[in-house]
Symmetry: C2
Subunit: 416 residues, 2 copies
Amino acid sequence: MFFKVKSSEDVFEILRGFDSVPTEKIFIGDSLNRVLGEGITSGEDMPNFSRSSVDGYAVQAKDTFGASDSLPAFLELAGEVEMGKASQNIVGPGTAVRIPTGGMIPEGADAVVMIEYCHSVDEKTIEVSRSVAPLENIISRGDDFRKGSVLFNKGTVLRPQDIGLLAGLGVKNVLVYQRPKVGIISTGDEIVPIDQKPGPGQIRDINSHTLSAFCSQSGAIPVNMGLCKDDFDEMRKVVGDALRTCDTVWISGGSSVGTRDMTLKVFESFSDARILVHGIAISPGKPTIIARAGNKSLFGLPGHVASAMIVAEIFLDPFLAWLSGEEKGAGDHRFYLNARLERNIESASGRDDYIRVKLKKRDDQMFAEPIFGKSGLISTLVEAQGLVKIDRNTEGLYKDQIVRVMLLKPYRTGEI
Amino acid sequence: MFFKVKSSEDVFEILRGFDSVPTEKIFIGDSLNRVLGEGITSGEDMPNFSRSSVDGYAVQAKDTFGASDSLPAFLELAGEVEMGKASQNIVGPGTAVRIPTGGMIPEGADAVVMIEYCHSVDEKTIEVSRSVAPLENIISRGDDFRKGSVLFNKGTVLRPQDIGLLAGLGVKNVLVYQRPKVGIISTGDEIVPIDQKPGPGQIRDINSHTLSAFCSQSGAIPVNMGLCKDDFDEMRKVVGDALRTCDTVWISGGSSVGTRDMTLKVFESFSDARILVHGIAISPGKPTIIARAGNKSLFGLPGHVASAMIVAEIFLDPFLAWLSGEEKGAGDHRFYLNARLERNIESASGRDDYIRVKLKKRDDQMFAEPIFGKSGLISTLVEAQGLVKIDRNTEGLYKDQIVRVMLLKPYRTGEI
């Protein structure tokens, strides 16, 4: 019953011992939120030619020096730049070429005067009533990125703008880490599939649906291995199947000591398996088991879905980021908000307590209201918008204290 | 050139004039981050029977009152509860039934004594060294939710724990709003597909890839309508195609006045179309056009990808949430972080300026460093982790001022 529990830091350290999943080459259109498996260097200057950033006239800046409404400069109109084409004209001293926004700066020009400051005098002449400095209203070749500059490091999570940059450089396919495949198993003699009416003493399978959605939210691919009775042979078979096809295996259920022991025995039964963690100094979530078989990880999660989800939020979300090759994976990975605590919370020392809280805004101040209730209740998690950690060296938190709230995804200001 | 621009508030108000997309019934396993199209009420008590939350003995609490190590209570062992089955035994006065965590509380029992406080005296007798109060260590029927209680309102974004709750209640399929389909069109005579080598004056299509990924990030379905030349007939045809198949149409490109006017004419050419917005008082992003044809929205976005993306971040992300039926859609929808500004920023009054910033943590304090640079550069957005708004009634922000940083997705503490 009283196994030697590990601290959260030890668990993170152990999780960082697993290698990331393999990489694959994919089309950039499918790469949102994927993690780069290689650094990327610009193969060319971006933009690859100097462009006008306004509608106007390409000129030699010195020809406009001193120009004003009362003393305009007169320039000879030497043609027009067409979008998507090199200009046929050269801008010499005293000449100007009409150019649209995005047009290629013609040879000889070093600035663009905005059209607002130019007036047509006759078909061949314009007057310019404002001076421009060299490079004014020009996006120069290489202003965005120079050829050879590092755009992204390996381990970067790709955002829309990052994908846009890759598109702009003609990078059609990128090497990214695969999405980790997570084998999910729900155990328990009392569990029935959700489309079956539970008999007396039976409940529907909550855990595999919750954990599957959790995996998707963390960018992984859930592989639902189905339900499993509290039976050694059956459990060993399904865990073995999951180990063959998945990168990590999560088994949940069995909150009684007997079933927990069975999960442990099943994990130990694989020839190359080692138990790494048998209990974590957190609440809820203490009876968590972590094992390793080859480079694959096995998790025995608490049977209560709320406890399993806290373990998932704290450890498995960062672990999936780590497996996915994220630069900062397997550490604290979450998003925080400061809030004023609405009530005192006591806590046992020696373990990190995670308190579920509701967030409420009043008078421009954010308040965190602890959700008390039996930790096995899913309602506590459904009502929660965040978690407050009470460190194992702290005996509690006080009303009106400002606390860091670890937010639950998806992050939405609208909700809080 | 100087059209009558609308304020951001007016634009949000206009966007709220569009109806949400239709609903559809889907499997809960596919419902992560989807928006409920109906309120959901619990069809039964959850849990549906009283369960033990510990390994122990189901008893009548009064039989344990006063029990201690020195004066234990002796109870007759009347059997054992099996997981997933109703107990065959009744707990009468002076009796106890062995029960595992999650087991169904037998008739007659009103509390469970943890196994740690029970010792076997002989095959038929246990001694109990701790008293329990009525309902102690029991999750009672309906503790999570009572039959008939409202679980979720229409418009709720489903999270893993919410899906778990639905699973637990046997709700296999839910009515959700469809994901909005966004027709994306990139225009410009200078644009070539990303797998084509650009000639002089040409650039690759950045915008449709960036905006497509943006749509996916906001939960919508991007429909890439391809590239389109600056030609009225061609543009009208592709916009018409997009209107038939999509819920909203986004056309980007054409930063010159001529192409912007063409987008406007194309929008106006549809029989039931009305121009709602012709310019927004923001920078970058001012030359944005919004039109309505039936219940479908048409957006003419700036050609510079960085400007288009700011408009997308500020208006289109909340608009997609609104179209998707989210309760709090089409308003400020984003996530903020306070940071200390590293430099003064000037701003023209009369418009909301959005400054791209990098975030840096030093000495436990978050700093926002403004990214200056021509607004057309994609690098400014690739380097940015957030946006700082300078309100149109403000002339600037000062170094060391604490500013609210609107974070760009995906939110990761690890990065900042």
